[in-house]
């Protein structure tokens, strides 16, 4: 077969294509690097400085046949085996903060509040309300109630039907949407079981970290530059420390990992008057 000679137009198109390909090949890593320059992570570890008090056993006097078998204890101050201070909210206080685009894709569509073993699980939650829904579910064989009243937003007082074995009942679930950011976490109660308690913080950005039982927290992909942060714990409210007046601190976020190191919180901060 005779090979066809390339026309001038075809040559032009081919060279344009190659140039474009090369350009993209060169540019993409640069764009990625430039993107990485724009965002940084914040990490730290909160440590309870003192002997953790014994978690008080809560009075379980409703639905005792179901709930009586669980060891239900106060969760208002959670200290891990290595003195890690858990359930502390660290979040960005600066208004209208730029949001890393990939967080929109990686954030789960739902945040789940489960009624399981007669308590709310997890105890502390955060929700990026314009993007995330709040899935409220019941996993117990008794009816549960979930009630909260966020400031300036629709109040909720939801009944969840008891779970019956082998049945998928849509009444054991509800999906809630928040319409407004809150500046402190909203308490959640169950009107049937007064010992149950949890907190949810709806924000208009994904920059909320909640410390784990090892005391560590991580907030990924913060915009580089000066930001103000708020620290909150349910027993004390704003976690006021000498270096964090009113539980607030400012930090110039650098690309890469910004480590706050270990922050010791004196036990005296949590003493109940």
């Amino acid at each position: 077969m005779k090979r066809k000679k390339l026309t001038r137009r075809e040559l032009l198109a081919a060279s344009a294509g190659m140039t474009a390909g090369l350009a993209i090949g060169f540019a993409v890593p640069h764009v990625v690097i430039a993107e990485n320059d724009r965002w940084g992570d914040l990490v730290g570890r909160l440590v309870y400085d003192g002997t953790p008090p014994e978690r008080k056993k809560l009075k379980v006097d409703k639905d005792v046949d179901c709930c009586g078998k669980f060891d239900i204890r106060d969760e208002s101050l959670m200290v891990g085996p290595d003195q890690g201070l858990a359930n502390v909210y660290v979040y960005v206080r600066t208004r209208k903060v730029p949001i890393a685009p990939e967080l929109a894709e990686s954030a789960p569509k739902q945040v789940v509040l489960d009624n399981r073993d007669c308590i709310f699980k997890p105890h502390c939650m955060a929700i990026w309300y314009p993007r995330q829904e709040y899935a409220i579910i019941n996993s117990d064989p008794i009816a549960q109630n979930v009630a909260f009243s966020p400031l300036g937003d629709t109040p909720a007082n939801i009944i969840l039907a008891p779970v019956k074995e082998g049945q998928d009942d849509p009444n054991t679930r509800a999906v809630w949407r928040f319409n407004r950011a809150q500046i402190v976490p909203v308490p959640i109660a169950c009107n049937y079981h007064p010992w149950e308690s949890a907190f949810v913080l709806p924000r208009d950005n994904p920059y909320v970290a909640i410390s784990g039982l090892d005391g560590t927290f991580r907030m990924a992909r913060l915009p580089v530059g000066k930001l103000e942060f708020q620290v909150w714990q349910e027993r004390v409210g704003y976690l006021d420390l000498p270096q964090w007046p009113k539980g607030r601190f400012e930090l110039a976020i650098q690309p890469g990992v910004n480590d706050l190191g270990t922050i010791r919180v004196p036990a005296a901060r949590f003493e109940r008057k």
Binding site: D61, L151, G152, P155, A156, I159, N171
Partner: protein, 402 residues
Amino acid sequence: MRWVAAIRMAWGDPAACSARRTGCWPLHRPAYWAGLVAIAFVLFSGCVAYQPPQFELNLEGRPKGSVSREQADAVAQMLQRLFGTPDEPRVPEGSGLDLELLAMAAGPPTGDPQGSVRGLFRRHCATCHGISGDGAGPTALVLDPYPRDFRRGIFKYTSTKAGIKPLKSDLRRTLIRGVPGTAMPSFAQLAPRELDALVEYVKYLSIRGETELYLFEQVVDEEIRLPLDKQMVLDEGVLPVARAWEAPEEHPQLRIVPGARPPIDTPAQLAASIAKGRALYASKEAQCVKCHGPNGDGKGEEQELYDDWNKPKRGVTPEQTAELARRFKLPLQRLRPRDFRQGTFRGGIGPEGRDLYNRIYAGIKGTPMPGVGPNPGAEAVISPEDIWHIVDYVLSLSRRNP
């Protein structure tokens, strides 16, 4: 002469004073005159000047000294700019409030021979609900339940779904019916336009109250930079609340439409409905017994109940509760689940028990009573037909027929 000496003495001639030592009126001293003027001022000033009442700032729940003078002034001034004063209300742009109706309800109670009415709120409502609508008027302390505090924007007896603001017609119905079993009387004798004016004024105080909560959140808790930007307050504070009030008026799907009522025309049908209702009442799904008790006497296992207005007054420890008590005008008040046997239903019964249906369906807003109607994103916990059976059972407890 004697009288010359008397005048001299009154005037307080220094020489006479020092000579007599007693009975000396030092009228020659400016301080003495200043004192007399001050006493006269105190005695007579209240008789002449009208002191227009002011809206009180909502500092409830905040520890003493936690709000600075500058912050309090910023909130008060912005509120006055947007909503005016109790004598001269103003209507913020986009709030949907009717200034003409508000003018009938605002101000001191007056009228004229032409029949125009003013000051309806102060004439009929402020004694209990307070000038600011804080539910802490002069009589509030001795009332149980306390008068409604309009500033949270929550109203108990509505025909709207859970979490939705009341319709204006709901507030109007409460005015006409009163709240049986409480100090709230019926205002059925008022002219229709006067009822409209009061409903509008309650809505006004409520939007104002929620805007105030927003302002305190921003100014005190969030410590945003002052002075406040009026447009921001309108966009973030006033308009979302105003839209929430308009939503059920505009969107019928936010109102409760009762399902078809099962027939109860014959005694046998009614008895069957009551029997079904009794079973549902005690069921794990509806959970009525938890608070209202197995006999419907309001003595269920759950007795430590508080409404949304009283919940913030409760601390974890008794000491905390005592400390919190100082931050509120009215002491902590417990909520008592209704004793159905008395047959007094605060939110009314409605035609065929329709109002009871609404409360079982959507719960009672601001209270622990949840609704059994559909949860967002789910179906109804109890079917509409079964809600009617519960209505029939509850009414049978008070020997009332629907």
